[in-house]
Symmetry: D3
Subunit: 322 residues, 6 copies
C-alpha cells in the first residue's frame, strides 16, 4: 500500500495510507442499526469526509478530534464528492512518524501562498504609510495580533476557510484597494487601514482551534462588526494625538464594510474610501468562491454544478481547456 | 388684537400676537420674483410654519433662528395644515416681555407629563434594582447624563419629538418592560437596563439646540447603535467587578434592539430579554405615532388622513365620539 | 428491563419499556431493500421518532396510528436527536395495563400548567369584563367551544403544539394584553376579546384527533382568519343589541392580528387595540419558541443549535448555568 | 362664447361655457396671501381640475361639491395637464338649464358602453348557468344589488373609475373568464360566479355619492375581501340546499382573487378556477390602465409619459399612427 | 411474470417486466460500502427512479444511459414515491423485442395529445394570419425548426417536461392568446407570433437527447431570452421588407414575456400584446403544474401534498370525487 | 453689467450676461394666471434652471430649445438651488457674438478631462490588446462609432450626464478594470472588451441632440442590454474567424454587466471577468455620484443634503476642509 496523494488529488478506488489532521469526529447509527464513525480529515490541500464502518470501538479509542492521525483506507465517490472509507486509524506519534514523512504543516489546510511572504508584503505596506497616526496604529495592531492574523482563516465556511486565509484575504484586498484608491484619488492609507481592520473583530468573534472555528459568546451576541469597532476605538485611544476626525472615518469603515444594512452593516458607506472598501471586500470574497468552485468541480462539463451560495452555475471554459 | 391660543389650538383667520421659539429661518424667492421669509415656530403644545411676505429685510434683522420671538399675524390654512402669516416679528426681550406673560418653558414643545415626575419615577426604578452591578452602572449613567436624559426628544421627527420626549419614551418602556418581564419570568433588571441604554447613543448621535436637532459627525458616520455600544463598554469598565457575561448580555440588548438587520441592528435578539426590549421599543413608538395622528388629525371623518410612515389610515372612532 | 423515564429525559443506550400515544405510523423501504416501520410516539413531556427494523409485519398488525401503545426498546442518538429503536410494540389494553401504571393523560403531550387552572383564570377574566356586550359574547363562545378551547394545541408545529396549548397561549396573552392595555389606557375589554377570538377560526381550520392535527377543507381554502371572521359575525348576530361599531372593531382585531399582509392579514392594525393584540400574539409565540429551543437543546455549549424558523442561534447562558 | 367641447377634448386657450358635475371644492391660500377656489369637474368623458381666482366669496356661495354647475372660463395647460380657469360658476337650475342642453347623464363620467347593454349581457350569462345552485345565488345577488352593480365605478382611482365601471369590469371579465375556462376545461359556472362576486365586498367598502367615492368604516376596518366573504356566506345561507363544498370553492375564489398575500389575499389560489379568476382580474385591470394611459397621453412622442403605478412608459405606436 | 402496467399506474409490490427508455445511469456507494446502480426510466406516461443492488457490474455492462432497455423487477414505495427495484436489465434488441411488443414511441414520455394533430392546428393558425410579414416569418420558422418544435419538451423540469411538451404549450397558448386578443381588440397576429417565438431561444439554450435535456454553453451564458432575440432578429432580416416597427414590437414580446425583471425579462411589457403574452404564458405554465400535481398526488385526502414550487397545497376536490 | 462666471460658480444676486446652450423651453401658467417661460441653460461647467417673467411673448420668439443663446439677468436661490431670472434673451449670432467671446464648446456641459486625451488613452489600450480577434473587433467598433463614443454622455441623468461622459466612464473603467484583472490573473483583454462594449447598446437606446437625450423606440422596447447584444453579435460576424467561444464570453459580459436580474441583466455573472466588469461598472458610477454630490452640495455642514438615489447623506469632511 502506497501513501495517498494530497487530498485535493484523491481519486476513487485508490487505496493507501496518509497523515492528516482530524477536525471532527462523530458516531452515527446507520439504518441497519449498526454504528459508524464519521470524521473530517484535512491536509494542506483540501478537506474530506472519512468514515469507519468496522471495529469502531477499537479505532474510536485511538484518537480524538483535533489530533493528527495516521489512516489506511481507500477513496470512494459518494453523493458527488470524494470520501475516504478507512480500514484503520490511530493518532500520530510525532517523533517516530516524522521518520515516515509526517510534517505538521503538511496536514493543515493552508493558503497557497507562503505565510511569511504574505506577512512581509503586508508589514511593508504599513511601514510605507504616509499618515503617521495610521502607521502607528496599524503597526501596533499587526504586532499585537500577529499570531492570529498570520494563522487564521478568513471565514468559517464561505471563503478563504483555511490556515492563512485571513491574511491571504487582507493581502489581496490591500493590493487591489491600493490600486483603486490611487485610480480615484482616494486616501490610500485610509483604505489600507480599512482593509486590515475591517474583519479584525473576527479575532474575538471566533475561537479557532486545531483547524476548527466556533463562535465565541461575544461573537454570537455582538458580532465581529461591533467587536471590531470596540477594538479600533481602544487601539486609537492608545495612540496619543490620534485625531478624532480620523478615528471617525476609520470606525465608519469598519461599521460600513458590509455595504448595506441587510448584510449586517449598521451604517452604510458615506465616504469614497468606504465605498471602495466594501467593493473590494465583496469582490475578493466572490472571486475566491468562483475560483474555488471552478477548481474543485469534479464534473467534466463546461460548467460547475449548481453553486448554492452564489445561486448559479459557473463557467469553467470549453471542455479540455484546463 | 388678543393673544394667540396655544399653537395646537390655532384656527384659521384668528388674528393675534404671541411668544414662540423660532427653530428655523430661511429666505425663499416666490414665483413672482419677490422674496419671503419662512420660519418654524413652536410653543409647549405644537410646532407650526410661519411666513412673512412684507418688509422682510427689516423683520429679518430683528431675530435669528434659535431665539424666542414675539410675533403678530393671523392663522391660515395652507396645504391641509394650519400656518401663521406674520405681519411683524422681533426677538424677545426677556425682562420686559415677562411682564406681558412670556415664559421660556411655555415656548418649547414639551412632553405632556412633568419632567420631574418622570425623572423621579425612573430613578426610583433604578434604585430598586436587585442586581448590584446594574444598579451601580445605571445610577452613574443617570447621574452623568441627567441633563440630556431629562430634556432631549426621543427622535428627530418620528415619535416623541419634543422636550422630555426621550425621558417619556424611556419611562413608559420601563413600565411596560417591567410588566412583561415579570409575566414571562425574564430578568427584569436586565430589561430595565436595556430600556434605559437602548438609545443612549443618541446623546452623541444628535446635537440638540434651541429646539432643533441635527446629526453629529459620529451620528452620521457611526450611528446611535454603535455609539451606544461604546458608551456601555466604557461605563462598564468604570464599574469594578462588572461581570463579563453580564456586559455581553447588556451590549447585546443595545445592538439588537431594532429587532432586525434591515432596521439597523447588526445582531438580532438571541435572549428573552432582547426580544422583550425590541418589542417594547417598537410598540411604544408605534402607539405614540397612532395616538398623535388621531389627536392631530384635523378632518371630521372617522379615520385620519393617510399616515405616510405607517402606510395606512387610523381609526379615530365614530364621528362625534371624541 | 425498567420503565423508560419521560421522553423529555430519554438518554442514549437506555433500554426499557413504556406507554405512549402513537400519532403516526409508516412503512419505509431501507436502502438494503428491507422495510422498516417509522412511528411518532409521545407522552406528556415530549414527542420522539421510533423505528422498528425486525418482524415488522407481526408488530405492524398489533396497533394503529392514533392508539396508545406499550413498547420495549432502547434510546439512540440519530442525526442529532434522540430516537427509540423498538424491539416490540402492541396496543394498550386499558384495564389490564392500568395496573402497570398506564394513565391516558400521561401519554398525551400537554401544556405544563393544569388545564383546569388555566380555564378558571380565563373564565374569571371574562366574567370581570365591564362591557356587557363583550361579556355576553365571550361567555357564550367560551361555553360553546369549551371542549376544544381547553384541549387543543395552539398550532400544528410552530409553538404550543400540544394538549392545552391553545388555552395556554390565550391565557398568557390575556395576562400580558391586559397589562399593556392598562399601561396605555387602551380598551382592556376589547383587547381581551381580541385575545380570545384571534385564533378562534383555528377550531374550524384544523381537525385534531388522537394527538394529530390536520387541515380541514375550509382550513385550506379559507384559512383561520377568514373562518374566525365568520364565527365572530355569527356570534355577534346572536347577541341582541350588539353595537355595530363594536362589532367592526372586534372583527378588525381578528382580521389584523397577524400584523401585516405578508403574514396573511388582509387588513393591517388601525386601532391601538389592534396594535397591542398583534404585538402580544407575536411576542408570546416568539418567546415560547425561544424558551423551548433553549430547554430542548441537547448540546453543551452556551448557544443552541441553529433555529431554522427564527434563523439564528439562541443564548442559553454560561455553561453550567442551567 | 360657445359651449365647451367634452372635457376629454379640451384644448388650451379655448374659452367657453359648459355644464359639469362638481365632485370636490376647496379653498386654498396662494403664496401671495390671497385665496382661490380649487374644484374637480367632470362630464361623461373626463375629469379636470378647475380654479377660480377672482370674486371667490361670491362664486363660492353659488354651489356646493356634489352639485351640477354651469361655468364660464377657459382651458389652460398647467403642470402637464389641461385645467380650467373659471370666470364664473353657479349651480344648475335643472328645468331652465335643460333648455340650454343640460343633461344629467352627460355630466357624469361614465363607461363607454351603455349600461343597459352591459347589464343584459351579464344577466344573460347568469340565466344560462348550468349549476342551479349558482344560478339561483347569482340571480338573487344581481337582483338585490342591481342599482349599485349598474352604477358604481370599479375602483376609487386606479382603473374603471367612473359610472358603470364596476359593471364594465365584470362584464369583460365574464367574457374572458368564460373563454379561458372553456379552453382549460375548468368549471365555467364557478369562474363566472367568482367574476361577479370577487369585488362584491366593495359595495360595502365604499360609499359612492355624487361622483365621489369614500371608504366606509367597515371598508377601512375589514376591507372588501372580508366583506365579500361575509356577503357570500350570507347569500349562500339563503339558498336552500346550497352544497357546502360549492360554498367553500366560491368563498375561496373571493378570498384568493388578489393572487398573493402581499396583495391582500389571506389565502392563495388552490384551484384551477381560482388561478383563472386572479389572472383575469389582474389582466383586465392592467389592460384598462394601459389603454387609458395611451388614450389620455397628451405628448406627441411614440411613448406615454412615465406611468407611476405601472412604473414604466407605454408604447403608443409610431408617430401619426393613431 | 407479467408485463408492467404503464409507469403512471405502477403500484407497490407488483412484479413484472417492461420496456423503457433509460435517461440517466449512475453508480453510488451505499452506506454499507457496497455499490448500487441508480437509473431514471420513462415510458410514454411517466418517469421513475429505478435501482439495482445485485450483480451491478454484470448488469451495468448491458446498457448505457440514452438506450431503450428491457427490465425485470418490482415496484416499491420509497420516500413517498413509487420506484422500481430491478432484478435484471439489458438493452433492447429492436427487431426481436418488437415481437414482444416493444414500441419506441411507447417508451418516451410524451404529451397526451398526438403531435401531428397539434402541429396541424398550429400551422393552420399561421397560415391564417392576416399580416403577410408575420405570416412569412413564422412559416419559415416553423419549417426550419419543425423537428425540434414538434419533439421538444417545454422545460427541463417545471412544466410540460416531455416529448411534444413545447408544442403542447405553444398550441394551448395560441388558442388562449387568440381568444384574449380578440376580446380586447389587440393585434391577434402579433400575439400569435409572440406565442410561437417567446421560447424559441430554448432550442439553442438546451440540448435534448434521448429524453434528457441539458444546458448548452450559450444556454448558460446568454439564456433563452437573449438567444430568442438574436434568432428573431436574424429571421426578420431574412424576410425582405419586414417593417422595422413590427420587428421592434416582436422583439419586445420576446424580451418581456417573463413579465418582470426579477423573472429575467430585461424589459417589461409596454404594449397590450406584451401584457397578454406574459399573462398567457404564466397562466398556462401554472395550470399545467396544478393539473399535474392534482393528477399525480398519491394521497387520499382532498388536498395534494405541499407543492414546493407553488408553495401551497392544491385542492383535488372532495374525497371519492375523481 | 459684467459677464457671468461659469454656471458652477454662480452666486445669488449676481447680475450679468452670458452665452449658454438652451436645452429645454416651456411655457407655464403661474398661480396668478400669468404665464412665464422656464428654460434649462448649460455651459461647460454646469446646468441651471432659468425663468423669464416679463415680455415672454417677445422673448419667446427670439430662440428655440436646442439653440445657443445670449441672456441677461441675475442669480437667485430657489428651493435650495441656484437659478437665473432673465431680463432678456436672444439666440446667438455666431459670427458677431464670437467677437464678444462666444465659444460653442464653452456652452456645452462637458467632462472635465479633454476628450482627445481620453480618446487617445482608450485607442492606445485597444491597440495593445494581445488577443487579435478582440483587437480587430474593438478597433472597428471604435472606428465605426467614434463620433458617438467621443461625444455622448454616459447616462441621461444619473452619472456622467454630459458631453464626453460616456468616454470618461469607459476610460476610467478601463484603467481600473485592467488593474483588477491583472491582480486576479483574469483575462485583461476580455475585461477591456467588456468595458468598451457593456453600454454600447446605449448608442441606439438614446437619441442625443443639442444637449438633450431621449429614448428611441428600440431603447424603450428592447433596452440597451439587448441592443448591445445584437450589436456585438453583428460586429463579431464581421470579423472572420472570430471564435464562437470567445463570442459567447463577450456576449455574456454585455448581458450580465448589471450584476443581477433585478437590475435588468437577464443573466448573472458566471465568469471571473463578468464579476469584475459588473463590479467596476457599479463602483465607477457610485463614486461619480458621490464625488459630484460632495462637490455640488451648497450647504456648509460636514455632510451633504440627503442623496435620494443613494438614500443617504455623504461625508464632505470637516468644515473648512475643502
Amino acid at each position: 500500500m502506497s501513501r495517498f496523494p494530497r487530498l485535493a488529488d484523491l481519486t476513487t478506488d485508490v487505496e493507501g495510507w496518509g497523515f492528516f489532521l482530524c477536525t471532527s469526529k462523530q458516531t452515527r447509527t446507520g439504518r441497519s442499526g449498526s454504528d459508524f464513525l464519521i470524521l473530517t480529515l484535512q491536509d494542506v490541500s483540501a478537506q474530506k469526509v472519512a468514515k469507519i464502518f468496522d471495529d469502531i470501538e477499537r479505532f474510536g479509542a485511538q484518537f480524538e478530534s483535533g489530533e493528527f492521525v495516521r489512516v489506511e483506507g481507500k477513496g470512494t465517490f459518494y453523493n458527488g464528492q470524494m470520501q475516504l472509507v478507512l480500514s484503520s486509524i490511530r493518532r500520530v506519534h510525532a517523533k517516530q512518524d516524522r521518520l515516515e514523512g509526517f510534517r505538521e504543516e503538511e496536514c493543515v489546510l493552508s493558503a497557497p501562498r507562503p505565510i511569511d511572504q504574505m506577512w512581509s508584503e503586508l508589514t511593508g505596506r504599513v511601514a510605507a504609510m504616509e499618515n503617521p497616526h495610521l502607521r502607528v496604529l496599524l503597526s501596533r495592531i499587526l504586532t499585537d495580533h500577529a499570531e492570529q492574523l498570520r494563522e487564521w482563516p478568513a471565514a468559517q465556511v464561505i471563503h478563504h476557510a483555511y490556515r492563512g486565509g485571513f491574511l491571504e484575504h487582507i493581502v489581496k484586498m490591500a493590493e487591489v484597494g491600493s490600486l483603486i484608491a490611487r485610480a480615484y484619488g482616494a486616501d490610500a492609507d485610509l483604505v489600507l487601514a480599512g482593509v486590515i481592520l475591517h474583519d479584525i473583530g473576527k479575532l474575538q468573534e471566533l475561537a479557532y482551534e486545531a483547524g476548527a472555528a466556533s463562535y465565541t459568546r461575544d461573537g454570537n451576541l455582538l458580532g465581529h462588526i461591533a467587536l471590531g469597532l470596540i477594538l479600533v476605538r481602544e487601539a486609537a485611544s492608545g495612540v496619543s494625538g490620534f485625531p478624532l476626525e480620523l478615528r471617525s472615518r476609520l470606525e465608519h469603515l469598519v461599521l460600513s464594510h458590509h455595504g448595506t444594512r441587510e448584510h449586517g452593516s449598521p451604517t452604510e458607506p458615506k465616504t469614497v474610501e468606504a465605498f471602495i472598501l466594501a467593493t473590494v471586500d465583496e469582490l475578493d470574497a466572490r472571486l475566491h468562491q468562483v475560483r474555488r468552485a471552478v477548481r474543485e468541480d469534479a464534473g467534466d462539463g463546461e460548467f460547475t454544478a449548481w453553486h448554492k451560495r452564489l445561486a448559479r452555475v459557473l463557467y469553467k471554459g470549453p471542455e479540455g481547456s484546463s
